[in-house]
């Protein structure tokens, strides 16, 4: 039980996907113009990630090592097709808002990365815990970034008016440059907090995590990133 909790909870802070692993940046930047979009994207990723981890873990002994990446891609792609159809049926406006980023979940490094780094080596139950934790961590990050950008950029939160009258929203935040800058500043803040914590324990300050292609399954040449 404690092992399950450990795998689940590491995705929530210690290995928070977009910030600590620096993976899957495209949706993080693209769909976080409002909190609602971030949450919807996160929900889709939780669904795909948990199920793909489960399926990969179930078939991990049956597939030869040489074709495993192709198998992971097929599993992820089938699940993404399912998500697309479900979203079209139940939340069409959100599906239209997210646009091509719904089909692009299939090339999100987190899905393949977790399949390769975790699910292909661990039993099903642990893999589900890992997928769920990572997915929830991803959703939290997206919703947080989305809230930040929506509040500063539009003065609303989940469509509700939350700022005082006369607040001048800065449009910069909801545009592309704001996405890059706010993610960069958030990453720096997380590194700063980590360093403050290390200092208190008497350790030396370190540079934050670099973009780590090694944890991404399909990246053959991790040394180049």
């Amino acid at each position: 039980m404690s092992k399950l909790w450990k795998e689940f909870s590491k995705g929530l802070w210690k290995e928070l996907p977009p910030f600590k692993l620096v993976l899957g940046l495209c949706p993080v930047l693209a769909v976080t113009n409002t909190a609602n979009n971030g949450l919807g994207m996160g929900a889709a990723v939780i669904f795909v990630l948990t199920l793909s981890n489960l399926l990969v873990s179930l078939v991990r002994k049956a597939i030869p090592a040489k074709v495993r990446i192709a198998c992971f891609i097929v599993i992820a792609a089938s699940l993404v097709v399912a998500v697309e159809l479900l979203m079209q049926a139940f939340s069409y406006p959100l599906y239209q808002q997210l646009g091509i980023f719904v089909p692009l979940i299939v090339v999100n490094c987190i899905i393949l990365g977790r399949a390769e780094a975790f699910a292909s080596k661990n039993p099903p139950l642990l893999s589900i815990a890992d997928g769920l934790g990572m997915g929830i961590g991803f959703t939290m990050s997206l919703t947080f970034l989305g809230s930040l950008r929506e509040i500063l950029g539009q003065g609303t939160w989940f469509g509700m008016h939350v700022t005082w009258d006369g607040f001048e929203p800065f449009g910069f935040m909801v545009q592309a440059p704001g996405a890059f800058v706010s993610l960069g500043v958030l990453l720096a803040l997380m590194n700063f907090m980590e360093n403050v914590r290390r200092k208190r324990r008497g350790l030396k300050a370190v540079e934050g995590p670099s973009h780590d292609c090694g944890s991404c399954g399909a990246c053959g040449s991790s040394s180049k990133c």
């Binding site: 620096v22 993976l23 899957g24 940046l25 495209c26 930047l29 693209a30 990446i69 192709a70 891609i73 097929v74 792609a77 089938s78 993404v80 097709v81 697309e84 159809l85 646009g99 091509i100 089909p103 692009l104 299939v106 090339v107 999100n108 490094c109 393949l112 910069f172 545009q175 592309a176 440059p177 704001g178 996405a179 890059f180 800058v181 993610l183 960069g184 500043v185 990453l187 720096a188 803040l189 590194n191 700063f192 360093n195 300050a205 370190v206 540079e207 934050g208 995590p209 670099s210 973009h211 292609c213 991404c216 399954g217 399909a218 990246c219 053959g220 040449s221 180049k224 990133c225």
Partner: protein
Amino acid sequence: MQEYFLLFIGAIFVNNIVLAQYLGNCPFIGTSKESGVAIGMGAAVVFVATMAAAITWLVQAYILVPLGLGFLQTLAFILVIASLVQFVEMFLKKMVPPLYKSLGIFLPLITTNCAVMGIALICQREELDLKTTILFSFASGLGFMLALVLLAGIRERLAVRRLPIAMRGTPIGLVMAGLMSLAFFAFKGMI
């Protein structure tokens, strides 16, 4: 002729695939530490994105639509792109070894590059014809390469500056990308 020219310029500068459409950010941040690596990666993306967009267009028009399998688009596209990348790698290794030497190491990275699949999907959503698809995907690839090489140049200079330790590496790379994106905003007035 003029509309093709506008499409070409627009895809490179105005709707830059990375800086305005948020596609391909992982390789954009990941491979922009040295300009040599950035040029190799950029060239590989231009090459594969153009071929992938053309082939997925054919697959969509002549296989998926006649068979009524439009909903399998995502699955079909990713399989086409993954096998295309494998095929290109094998072909280059056998037939054009010098090119393979410079591009080969980047090819496996491209399968999960969302710029490649994103370009193919945009072409479908915009309902471009085959000729326009090829032109648009080529220009978008060039836009990716331009942004990547520019960012690599900036980051090479930043690497020797004294920055606060928390800002080093990815965070400053992202802030720089944001500033570049702001600069590219100016092209919006061009078309």
